[in-house]
Symmetry: C2
Subunit: 289 residues, 2 copies
């Protein structure tokens, strides 16, 4: 059995938003996620494409479904939307609480190799392997049509997962992602803690570095960035680094980066461009092979 426990379900946009918990082997704790299922997936009539959304620092599984404004559009295209939490919770690791940039709410989508994190802080494997296997086995989704996107730390996560698993995702997009974490405070701080001091170990979690050496099917990437985003100004995000790296790999990487004047780092920004992102993924998810 899957071990999924249904916490709640609510009808919404000709489908249901459901919250589930389950025991995770990757993180050694109970994890929670939300899933929106359109009616044709609930009835089992069709296997629908599935889109994963990874949230940013301090967020949990609820931010996107509450404030992201995605559900009208995934409903329209009949796509399942999965929103995992951003870290293990309540695992009693020293240093887990008290710093919003590390530990709880700040898993950074890596598999930790260092103490005291390595028993639990394995969000890379959790999202890429365990959660997707669970979703694929438990719901009427078509695992061959999977895409991923995210915001900030979750934008980093989405890019890293897509670049490290060529062909696994039909498309990837991000709102204000951390693009070059081995060179920004957001990244260096967490990688030092979770991965240790050997910086060559960090490369496999750095979208800009991974993009340079990406080899696989042509990958379409859409990135939106607000130009009054405080974390853009403070050089935590560095979308220009991603652009430069993509220019080294134009045969395989189709990157569109859009600067959005006046927009900040918040969910107000995210929801403004949500329809574009869902349409971008829908186009790839429903493309004839």
């Amino acid at each position: 059995m899957s071990g999924l426990e249904l916490v709640s379900k609510t009808r919404c946009f000709d489908g249901e938003v459901r919250k589930y918990t389950h025991s995770s082997a990757a993180t050694n704790c109970k994890m929670t996620f939300n899933i929106f299922l359109p009616d044709i997936a609930i009835s089992g009539k069709e296997r629908v494409p599935v889109l994963y959304y990874l949230s940013g620092l301090t967020c949990n599984e609820d931010n996107m479904v509450t404030k992201g404004g995605a559900i009208p559009f995934v409903s329209k295209h009949r796509i399942a939307l999965v929103t995992p939490d951003t870290s293990p919770r309540g695992v009693c690791v020293e240093g887990e609480e008290g710093d919003w940039e590390l530990g709880t709410g700040a898993g950074f989508y890596v598999d930790a190799t260092e103490e005291p994190w390595k028993a639990n802080y394995n969000m890379y494997s959790y999202v890429q392997l365990e959660l997707q296997q669970l979703v694929n086995e438990s719901f009427s989704v078509d695992s061959a049509r999977t895409s991923i996107f995210g915001h900030s730390m979750g934008g980093h996560g989405a890019l890293v997962l897509a670049l490290r698993n060529p062909g696994h995702y039909k498309s990837v997009s991000a709102f204000a992602p951390i693009c070059h974490p081995t060179t920004s405070d957001w990244g260096r701080k967490q990688f030092s803690a979770y991965l240790g001091s050997n910086e060559s170990d960090w490369i496999e979690y750095d979208a800009t570095e991974l993009l340079k050496v990406y080899d696989g099917p042509v990958l379409s990437i859409l990135v939106d960035q607000g130009d009054v985003d405080q974390f853009y100004s403070s050089k935590q995000l560095q979308p220009s680094h991603l652009v430069v790296a993509a220019e080294c790999n134009t045969r395989l990487i189709k990157l569109e980066t859009r600067m959005q004047p006046g927009y900040d780092h918040s969910y107000w920004f995210i929801q403004t461009f949500m329809e574009d992102h869902i349409n971008f993924h829908a186009k790839k998810l429903f493309e004839e092979n």
Copy 2:
């Protein structure tokens, strides 16, 4: 001067969501509201129509703008959206806290006549007079094109304000409104406290009773009600009473009530039908006279 203090502003859907506070004479305390302004209203290029949204029990000015999903649609139609709080706050009235159905978060859009409420709990005058005057004077809106809607207690408020002020609103709509509060626990409890024991004083805050005697320009009303809404089941909402009353006044009242199968009382329900409600109001707000 208006005395408006800007708390925050954020770019969103080609406009801004702004939060303001101001000292209110109606409620004798500081009140807070949000307003979405499309760019043409921010620049002062055009006076845009204005739509008020009244929230339900326990809510504040944020629920709608955070979870209602209205902003893409008011932005598209270039309408200003105003979301007031649901009661005075922090006025140190005995009994104000501790009961979610009375006091804070439960102003019920009446002008209280009873102690200890009457100095502050005047949400009818606050919304109908003070707030609208303030908005009309402070922003590039066209007061001749005003509409109103709301949810639950706020649906009751929207219907009452529209029915008591013929011609003031171009249209009114509601999600799961309390339709006949003089006959349901939600209503009788609050009216007893705020208005006293003389039930004839309650009639002027009862949409079903007001609808029977409405006299004024033809009024279009749209009501959506989920059929698994627990408060519908427990007879707090009673949309059928509104339907029966409207049948007595079909010349002046154009009521469309839609039962929505499987939907509950939550913001998931509200956001599902938000586009329909905004389109309903836009049609009336932009109608040629």
